[in-house]
Structure formats: C-alpha cells, structure tokens
Subunit: 63 residues, 2 copies
C-alpha cells in the first residue's frame, strides 16, 4: 500500500499528525489531507517535502 | 512500490511528465521532482493534488 504518514515540522522537530494519508491538496496556505477512511485534516502550512519511499509527507507550519 | 507518476495540468488536460517519482519538493514557485534513478526534473508550477492510491502527482503550471 502507498499511503503515507503526514508530519508537521515545528521548531526543527517532526510531529506526526496523520497516518494512512491518501490525498494531499495544498490550497491557499493550507494543506488538506485525507486518510484511507475518508477522514480529513486541514493544516495551516505548506508542503515542504514528500518522500514516497519513506512514506513521509512533511508540512511546514505557517508562522 | 510507492512511486508515482507526475502530470502537468495544461488547459484542462493532464500531460505525463515523469514516471517513478519518489520525492517531491515544492519551493519558490517550482516543483522539484526526483525519480527512482535519481533523475531530477524542475517544473515551473505548484502542486495541485496528490493521490497516492492512484499514484498521481498533479502539478499546475504557473501562468
């Protein structure tokens, strides 16, 4: 399976905020995440990096 | 495997630009893509949507 975990980068630390993420939609300064079960999470930030091999989505919080 | 294909959205059509993408780094109005073999492609655009289940990365070109 290809779902990934989403992390927020805060003060140089990664904080895991969602598992099994399947869609990622950045829009207007926010990132909309949806997981396998259809749950949605909206993060105030921008995508910093996505590493599919590590299954990691890293989001940087807006200041 | 979890690599995906990257597409550019142009005039409402999706144009495939890279296969086996493993990292995606949006930065400063560009999207840096790297594939399994380490090849890099730089696209002048923003991430519009990523669908991991469909293995699709959709990038909208800057005007």
């Amino acid at each position: 399976m290809c779902e990934s975990a989403a992390f927020i980068l805060k003060e140089n630390k990664l904080e895991r905020i969602m598992d099994n993420v399947v869609t990622i939609d950045p829009y207007d300064g926010k990132v909309y995440l949806t997981d396998l079960l259809g749950e949605e999470k909206i993060v105030d930030g921008v995508i910093k990096e996505i590493r599919l091999i590590d299954h990691k989505i890293i989001i940087e919080e807006n200041n």
